[in-house]
Symmetry: C2
Subunit: 196 residues, 2 copies
Amino acid sequence: MRKRIITISREFGSGGRYIGEKLAQQLGVAYYDKEIIARVAEETGFSKEFVEKKGEYSPQKSLFAYAFVGRDSQGMSIEDHLYAAQAKIILDLVKKGPCVIVGRSADYILRDRTDCLHVFIHSSPEKKAERIRTLYGKTEEESIKLMKETDKKRSINYNYYTDQKWGAVRNYDVTLNSGTIGIDKCVEILVEMAKG
Amino acid sequence: MRKRIITISREFGSGGRYIGEKLAQQLGVAYYDKEIIARVAEETGFSKEFVEKKGEYSPQKSLFAYAFVGRDSQGMSIEDHLYAAQAKIILDLVKKGPCVIVGRSADYILRDRTDCLHVFIHSSPEKKAERIRTLYGKTEEESIKLMKETDKKRSINYNYYTDQKWGAVRNYDVTLNSGTIGIDKCVEILVEMAKG
């Protein structure tokens, strides 16, 4: 396998995490998502819930506000510490062998390696809302709100730490619309691409 | 073949047109690029050179200026007439059977069909400049200038007529970085995707 490491960024409700799981299974490689959260919790002493809530999501409603959250004596906020811990753990995990990593700005953290395939999964608002409704038992209104808020927080976090724009074509080797292509076909295509 | 029509949008120097040609060959379907120019020239009476120069490229340096180019008594500019003629020809061509269409906002013109695969091919500025240098015998400086100007004009034209942003993830079913994936692998992946 030429592409040993696959990072998957995804819009909420696009099925990106599911695609990542299936892809790791089919390639027979490690899959990291909750694993990263557990390790960050262990290393930093924060609870898993806290890491999950803050590790990938901005608590603020704007990038401007995000830049000014409380700082310690080294000028670092809790979010900065979590980002640094996550980056270190991702760099450690990829040393262990081929894997699929979902979220957590892994595409940026591993941007200088040539053995990675950076993937972005997106879909139309209608298809995503439908998936959220079905999977999480939400109403249509709740689904749309959750989708918007989650992606907004993800993009603020990503844009702040990477100086890149979340979901911009040039950050990724491949982007796929899971709504028009189909989730199983996305997995099939990515298996082919991982082979190099 | 479930995806009967494949539209390819591409950054200048990314090899998108070459990928389109190879893809059409491998799928055994029609390939339209210069063909569209010839038909527009025939229908409108403009020369092929004129259609090629104006049909996909804004003559202006900004979207603002583009909106105010000379208009006829119906309020239409020459560019508006060319766009309308191109759209009509693309809609006619796809009635003939499966095909690959490169450029000319075909993704937008055919956006409501479900039998299309909309593709965007991009690459890093370094890789594109290298390809332009090799293919067109330009210096590095000339290559970078040509690349920037061509894509700027393409994006202004596209953004003006489609109300979408050229190269934005959500316009396309799939985007591929030909520089990291490799041109032949892009063709292979797209052949797989066209099968549905």
